[in-house]
Symmetry: C2
Subunit: 339 residues, 2 copies
């Protein structure tokens, strides 16, 4: 087990964790990138142009890495995990494209979004293409079990995205509703990504479920930290912008906590800023003041740490090895982003 300290960690130490993980799967990750570039091709040139725009922007590739490292942890020595990791990234990319259309987002990974450059039409359709292509690659892989896992995940993700739509601008959103939403929209694909690593390695059900639990808990922790970062956790080195969720009226856990603990006057404030177009100068500062008053950001990070600990425990059944060590460090990385 990697040791964690209660004090804020060094950002360079944190970044080094991710670097070590990426180095461990470097060759396979390069092959995943080759598959991604090969499979996004189409005689319709706008498709690779758009796909390239988002894929080239990078991202941490955490989901495909989960598939690769889980397969290796399970002793898998074949090639299938590379293609399936590309499928996972395609499903994720398709979701991002549709997400950005739905949110009318302008920036993603520090670049203009596809919808900001090409309008809404092409990203809807290219998202559909990437989604279909992911299933074509899975069919070529030939495992009905993998197809089941990823088609189930895709349906649950869509449900989670609709839940997000419904809870936005709704100040009555509960913590339970928030967790149901992030388990569906975010954690399900993390869970599926690590699960298929164990499935291709043909491991017994208990190992498959342990890796699924690891992925799910990492995913929840990742989203909790993302939502904390949107209210400006201490450092912004990772390129997140602050206040997007607030501007969109999204009820994330920090807000749900402050809402639950707030008095009547505070609830009036939250109702106005979340549910109406009546936004005023100083609203974000006031929101931040209320989150601080109710310790809502720290409470969110502590919830992430609980899920991080569950993720670590899920790896207990696997023997110590470089893969397990890297997966433990990934837990730390996901949470340390908040500091």
């Amino acid at each position: 087990m990697s040791a964690r300290t209660a004090t804020a960690p060094d950002p360079e130490v944190s970044r080094a964790r991710l670097d070590r993980l990426q180095a461990l799967v470097k060759d396979e990750l390069q092959r995943v990138n080759l598959v991604i570039v090969a499979e996004m091709q189409s005689p319709v040139e706008l498709i690779p142009q758009l796909a390239q725009h988002l894929v080239a922007a990078g991202g941490k590739r955490i989901r495909p890495i989960l598939t690769l490292i889980s397969a290796r942890l399970c002793g898998y020595s074949g090639d299938r995990h590379v293609n399936l990791a590309a499928c996972v990234e395609f499903l994720h990319t398709a979701t991002l494209m549709h997400d950005d259309v739905v949110d009318a987002s302008e920036l993603r990974r520090g670049r203009a979004t596809a919808n900001a450059v090409w309008g809404n039409k092409a990203p809807v359709l290219v998202g559909d293409f990437l989604f279909s292509r992911a299933f074509q690659v899975m069919v070529a892989d030939g495992s009905l079990e993998v197809l089941r896992i990823l088609s189930d995940a895709a349906a649950v993700i869509a449900e989670g995205e609709v839940m997000q739509l419904l809870t936005a601008n709704d100040s009555t959103t509960t913590e339970d509703a928030y967790f149901a939403m992030i388990e569906a929209k975010t954690a399900k694909l993390f869970e599926a990504s690590s699960r298929i690593g164990a499935v291709v390695a043909d491991r017994p059900a208990a190992d498959v479920e342990a890796l699924a639990e690891y992925g799910k808990c990492i995913g929840i922790a990742f989203q909790l930290i993302d939502d904390a970062l949107d209210y400006g956790a201490e450092q912004q080195a990772l390129g997140k912008t602050v206040g997007d969720d607030f501007a969109d009226g999204k009820v994330t856990l920090p807000v749900a906590i402050a809402l639950a603990k707030g008095d009547a006057a505070e609830r009036v404030f939250w109702q106005r800023v979340l549910e109406t177009d009546d936004r005023r100068d100083g609203d974000f500062a006031e929101a931040m003041r209320l989150l601080k008053k109710h310790d809502a950001i720290n409470a969110t990070i502590r919830r992430a740490e609980v899920y991080g600990e569950r993720a670590r425990r899920a790896l207990d059944r696997f023997p110590a090895c470089p893969e397990r060590a890297a997966m433990l460090e990934l837990v730390d990385f996901c949470i340390e982003r908040a500091y």
Copy 2:
């Protein structure tokens, strides 16, 4: 073979053709509808609400009927074709939802579109859900071959939709580009729908390919007639509105023919109305005059008749039976809509 006359047929005769076909598969079609209603359910209530909105609006269900009738023509006596027909309709419905967002359409099947009622966000996400659910149902069916056919079709449809985006507002669009687009966006799903009917019946490749050819040619004819109807073929009994494609600047075959045959002044007209926002009163009437001058609508219908004849010939290898007779009548129905 059903006899066809060169003169315009009686609309009641035409409608009776579709009625006979639907009557032949009535029980199975009712079971398809039950599967559709059951599979569109989700704990996220907005999903069945939106799906129901489009599904309840009806539609002719031609694609699932193709799966059902093809399976029966092939002597299939199991249940799988019912679930797979529902998959086909889900893929079609998902495409329609995304289409209507892309086109900002207000009406579909005589009702307000989902995007007109709920905005663009929910239909993008509910389309994704229906798409995923279709793959879940295919996985439960368990045939990798069917999964291959429908994932291939889904990718090609998305390519066709992007082609449509690129050819809209482009007066240099050729007939070839038009046919490539409609083969992808429309005919591919017709082809896949009838193909899987033969596949579940486990028929030899030549029969599978014959039914795929039938579906493809019906699909092309269907789209050609649709595009002719958009310029007001003689009767509007089937509820099509006129002028939508013109308003969207879509270069369909009637326009491509008039463009190719037009003189310099006509090309200036088409460039203005297709490529710019400079639309004037009387433009649609002028477009209709040019289409008539170059016999473009009739030429489009004649092309549809050629594909109709190809569809009929594809059925030659099958013995005479009620299913084959109904499939021949479906060809007539698809083309007679134009009169």
